[in-house]
């Protein structure tokens, strides 16, 4: 029993950082969602194999299905590793696992979009006319298309729901893998919808319908993949921390600056913050009033106040300086 309760407690932390209730709950839900996602993907692939049978048209979809297993798996491995406490060999902890997983998810997304684009463009260029014939099931014959359309529409529903749920959790957890994976879910259901449209198009004699529809959505998938790839690489290269969607600088940067500047013994303060994964690594430089060195208690209090701002603030150093160092704080130059 003891073992299980310890495992439970371990769940609510990332390295040193104990998770408050809200992100802890979000983490538990996200892990559950990703497991559900994986199970649904397995069921989907099996259903596709059964319906598609020998048809060339749907064989390509299997490669996409196989690829789309990667982001959920990357997420589950990353949050597992990120929970480990820092060690002598890994003094910053294992938070970067999230950055690596983000890179994996982003590359997968980009690869899937690129594959879809090239495959469909080749189909159009070589004027591939997809054959969809009859199939015998339960003693009756139907056009396979009438079976494919409801099947792919059915497979569009779970990623639509799961993607939305993941999008809600991603900002709470500050998890960019989850965000990229929600984009993957979006790619999944959009692909499914266009396949349905494409198969119907083939049904009414438009051989190019499937490829044309796929090319249209491949652009959106490539754009999502590219955005995520840029963001993942930038984070791994210690870009200033951003919001979960990488759209703007993280508000915590200003909040920490403001908090420190507001302390009575502080004349001026500025920090640099990098995103380690879920949590931030913060180096804050403070100029004490009248050049008077703060006491150790005052420094500790200042750090505590910052940590209380947000659970993402934990790994933080405060350096008292005579003058804010421009070489470490390039934002001073642009300001």
């Amino acid at each position: 029993m003891n073992g299980s309760s310890r495992a439970g407690a371990e769940r609510y932390r990332f390295g040193h950082t104990e998770l408050p209730e809200k992100p802890a709950k979000a983490l538990r839900r996200a892990i559950r969602l990703e497991w559900i996602d994986l199970v649904i993907r397995v069921v989907t692939v099996v259903a596709m194999i059964l319906v598609a049978g020998n048809s060339q048209a749907m064989k390509a979809a299997w490669i996409e299905d196989a690829l789309s297993f990667l982001p959920p798996i990357a997420f589950l491995i990353a949050v597992r590793i990120a929970r480990r406490r820092p060690t002598e060999a890994h003094p910053y902890g294992f938070h970067r696992s999230v950055g690596v997983a983000h890179l994996v998810a982003a590359t997968t997304l980009l690869g899937m979009g690129g594959y879809l684009l090239i495959d469909s463009a080749l189909g159009l260029l070589t004027a591939e006319h997809p054959p969809i014939g009859l199939i015998e099931i339960f003693g009756t014959t139907v056009w396979l298309g009438w079976l494919m359309i409801p099947t792919v529409l059915l497979t569009a529903i779970p990623p639509m729901i799961l993607g939305r749920m993941k999008l809600k959790l991603a900002p709470v957890l500050h998890n960019k893998v989850l965000y990229a994976d929600a984009d993957m879910n979006k790619a999944d259901w959009m692909t499914a919808l266009t396949t349905a449209v494409g198969v119907f198009g083939i049904g009414i004699g438009l051989w190019w319908a499937d490829s044309a529809a796929a090319i249209l959505i491949s652009f959106s998938i490539i754009s999502d993949g590219w955005k995520n790839l840029r963001s993942a690489v930038a984070d791994l290269m210690d870009r200033r921390a951003t919001t979960f969607d990488a759209k703007e600088p993280h508000p915590l940067i200003d909040e920490v600056d403001e908090l420190l500047t507001g302390i009575d013994w502080v004349e001026d303060a500025e920090c640099r913050i990098r995103d380690e994964g879920h949590v931030f690594h913060i180096e804050a430089f403070v100029v004490p009033r009248n050049g008077r060195m703060p006491t150790l208690d005052q420094l500790a209090e200042a750090r505590e106040a910052c940590v209380d701002l947000d659970w993402k603030v934990q790994d933080m150093v405060i350096v008292p300086v005579e003058k804010l160092p421009e070489e470490f704080l390039p934002q001073l130059r642009s300001a």
């Binding site: 020998n54 060339q56 591939e128 006319h129 997809p130 054959p131 969809i132 014939g133 009859l134 199939i135 015998e136 014959t141 056009w143 298309g145 083939i202 049904g203 009414i204 004699g205 438009l206 051989w207």
Partner: protein, 162 residues
Amino acid sequence: MASRWAGIRRGGAAVVLLLLTGCGVSIPADPQGTLERVSGGELRVGISHQPPWTDITGSEAPSGIEVDLVEEFAGAIDAEVAWTPGGEEQLMMQLQEDQLDMIVGGFTDSSPWTSHAALTTPYVETKGLDGSTAKHVMATVMGENEFTTTLEQFLLDQDVRL
């Protein structure tokens, strides 16, 4: 409420069907209009030697199980069969270049020619010498789905037994 929705849905389905039939579109349709062209016209069939399915050794017309089936199919759509004997590879090239409408030659559903031809759904199963089952199919021109499904339906309706 429920009955009203059902009514609307039925009405909607009827409208869609009307629109489709109104435009003269049946599903699946042929992008190149193969079925329309061969009906009452000429059905160009490639044939490669694979007895007992196809036999082109005789001095006269080809014979075999699949030859009979094709002749009957042609009769059903009021077409004349124009046979082109040849090796599989050459026939597949001709099929791809729209010089043929279909090929027979004792093909099974594990035929490797899926990038050149549309294989019909199996119309008969046989036991091979090693006890494995072979599902027999014919090859048709790619993507002419109305033509292909018409042939498939015809073959299934024959309920071929050996």
